[in-house]
Amino acid sequence: MNRLLARRFAGNSCLVRVPWRSFCDAAAVNSGTAQAKHAEKQRLTSHSEEYDVAIVGGGMVGMAVACSLASMSLTKHLNVAIIDSNPALVNGITIKKEDPPDPRVSTVTPATISLFKEIGAWEYVQQHRHAYFDKMQVWDYTGLGYTRYNARDVSKEVLGCVVENKVLQSSLLSCIQNADIRKTVFPARLTSMNLNPSSIPTELNGTSSTSPWRGFARLELSDGTCIHAKLVQVGADGSKSNVRELSGFKTTGWNYAQNAIICTVEHTVENNCAWQRFLPSGPIAVLPIGENFSNIVWTMSPNESSELKSLTESDFIKSVNHALDYGYGPHPKSSSARDGDLSWFGAGLTSSAGEGFTVPPRVVRLASERMVFPLSLKHANSYVAKHVALVGDAAHTVHPLAGQGVNLGFGDAFALSRVIGEGIAVGSDIGEVSLLRRYEAERRPANIVMMAILDGFQKVYSIDFGPLNIVRAAAFNAANYFSPLKRNIISYASGEQRLPLFT
């Protein structure tokens, strides 16, 4: 079933480009010793293990690259290696319907959804738990402002969809498994990488001048395997990317001195709205994840997070409900804005919001463990080098504020595979920097804008200062009442527009 065993695909016959290439299914270094032996034999007898693309890190973004390559006519002939020590890639991911949702979830934007549909992975997502939401409410603890977004504002059906990471992962896995592309999974870690083997003699056949792999990057894996690839993509080897370090990419970034607590909670009613409230120490977000479950992402200082983690379940739930209701400050006034402190702002504008402020459904039960992780911002100064392209978290780590992280990663994955296709169309070497720069030129500015926005949000909300609170609230209200602005914010958050506000 879900076994992505490195099969020697019948597809090996499809477009074998050079006669001396011999493909080895050594990847099937499965637990079975017989197979391991077989693989060993294969490795010894094969001349090389040569791939067009090596994807280091078979996480969501890495798998998306593979699926996307498999889905395009110009790239589906590529021979792909996926290097990841996660046994799930070989053994498959089992998802039981009756299990409560995993706290690790992603909010996928409509743009990501349509990309998933394009590569044929969305149908697998739909077989599992997923929750569309069409409403979003953002407010802050000062009680001065709030905004409600509705998918109808942008004539859309949904604002996004919350999916467990393991569902995304397994959907992409099923997708690549059924795809007609040559792929091999190496259940190992990358230990070293040589991007320019031409400069050193390869011990494999002695003289460097006759080595057939001089135009390839050479990768050594923890199980002793050595493979060669024209293009190494660092997908989900994550924010501590091994390949990024090995190939000397520099990063810019900082830690936020904030932690996020994530967990799954249960309500008594179904939730179909995404909620976010800015509290003095950071935002708390409640995302619907299907049935009566919601996912909580609560950002706070490290001290607070360890305190909250050690609370009893009932006390923790009390704190969550407190934070989503009257905790830290009053409810914002409902939209009419006829009285009180905001009339100076709201008077001239007719309300396009229409919907009043709502309190999120109460949390009644904790449905998963509480997980804590530190937040940081990190951005690679460059995404590409000869034979290497960084994608996803290896290239950028963002504040999880709007759940945009993985969407940026998926954006990278699809942009990169499209650029590879464009390169193949005109016969480019897919490891050439001049080609890969096009990927960088497309993704880097887009990612920087999004990171700056999220970072800005984080900064603005990490200061509790009277006048600033009012300005912030005014901005909120502006967003709520001024529909072009609102439309732009929604479109941008849906991943559909390049630049916010300027269209």
């Binding site: 290439r21 006519s73 790239t75 031409s198 390169g423 005109v426 016969g427 070497d429 050439e432 001049s434």
Partner: protein, 321 residues
């Protein structure tokens, strides 16, 4: 204004980056290199000026496709083993997409897009295929370091690359061997005329940025035509003899910015699209499509356009079946 000038200059610089050596011995014979066999050679070519005593270091000649192409002082003897490492280093420079050839690397996909689409249409090939030129025999005349030959080979063609300069051929050979997808390219230091004598035939004959440097463009076109199988294709790109080309390719690039040695291009030896079409017609090649190349300095990308006033490319088919 400045940006316009920049754009022009970039157009030019792409074609022939300045070699680091300003003096180009034997330059006057440059227009002859491809037609030397079919033409009685003028004195300068038949008895070339004595080779410079200090031969340019390899890196400097490699720094210029044009510069090396025109130097007929290239060594004819087969290369010795210690030299191989040297040529390998040269190949790195030639192929350094951030190096002196950056503009050429930037323009290459655009030229290839034109070639791909015209050849696919003409030979009825599947444009969705990763190797649409599978089964076609193509010759790249004036291949330099192989910047055009390699992509053509990756697109499935059986490619022969020829260049009059031995050094270029060595560089191209070393680089093509880096990738199994291009290692089957046949490189040879020869001229189109010699291959005509050998009665070689190709489905498509491609000569990019060469014709403005040959002595007799009409004879050169005849040779290209003779190499083309009847019903095959001929693709030529060059610079237009327009005032704009004069201002950009010669005045700006050679005299103002010194990107090219003075005298690199002679305006009078440029061909207008009409003239090119005419001499091709006389060589029984009918021009079917023509396009210009335009550089966008903001995106750094080249694109195809209808503006053929500076750089242009022509696709023609050989008459007769």
């Amino acid at each position: 204004m400045a940006s316009k000038l920049l754009r022009r200059v970039l157009i030019v610089s792409d074609r022939s980056p300045r070699p680091s050596s300003r003096s180009l011995p034997g330059f006057t014979s440059s227009r002859l290199f491809s037609s030397s066999n079919s033409q009685p050679l003028p004195a300068t070519a038949s008895s070339p000026p004595p080779p410079p005593t200090t031969v340019d270091p390899p890196s400097s000649s490699s720094a210029s496709k044009f510069g090396s192409k025109i130097r007929n002082d290239s060594v004819r003897s087969s290369i010795k083993d210690p030299e191989l490492a040297k040529f390998s280093a040269i190949a790195d420079t030639w192929w350094d997409s951030e190096g002196p050839f950056k503009p050429l690397h930037l323009m290459n996909p655009t030229r290839l897009a034109f070639i791909r689409s015209t050849l696919c249409r003409h030979f009825r090939k599947d444009t969705n295929s990763a190797r649409p030129l599978e089964g076609l025999k193509i010759i790249d005349v004036g291949c330099g370091g192989g910047i055009l030959s390699e992509p053509l080979a990756r697109m499935g063609a059986v490619v022969t690359g020829i260049d009059a300069v031995d050094k270029n051929i060595k560089i191209a050979r070393v680089h093509a061997d880096l990738d199994p997808g291009t290692s089957n390219i046949e490189y040879s230091c020869t001229t189109a005329e010699k291959l005509v004598e050998e009665q070689r035939k190709f489905d498509a004959v491609i000569a990019l940025e060469v014709i403005e440097h040959v002595a007799n463009p009409a004879e050169f076109c005849k040779s290209l035509s003779a190499l083309t199988t009847p019903g095959g294709a001929t693709v030529i790109s060059t610079i237009n003899r327009s005032m704009r080309a004069y201002a950009t390719a010669i005045v700006a690039a050679e005299y103002i910015l010194h990107w090219l040695p003075k005298g690199t291009h002679q305006w009078s030896s440029f061909l207008t699209p009409e003239e090119l079409a005419l001499i091709l017609k006389r060589a029984s090649v009918s021009v079917k499509e023509m396009a210009g190349f335009v550089y966008n300095p903001l995106t750094g990308r080249w694109s195809l356009s209808d503006d053929i006033s500076v750089n242009f490319i022509a696709f023609g088919t050989k008459d007769g079946q």
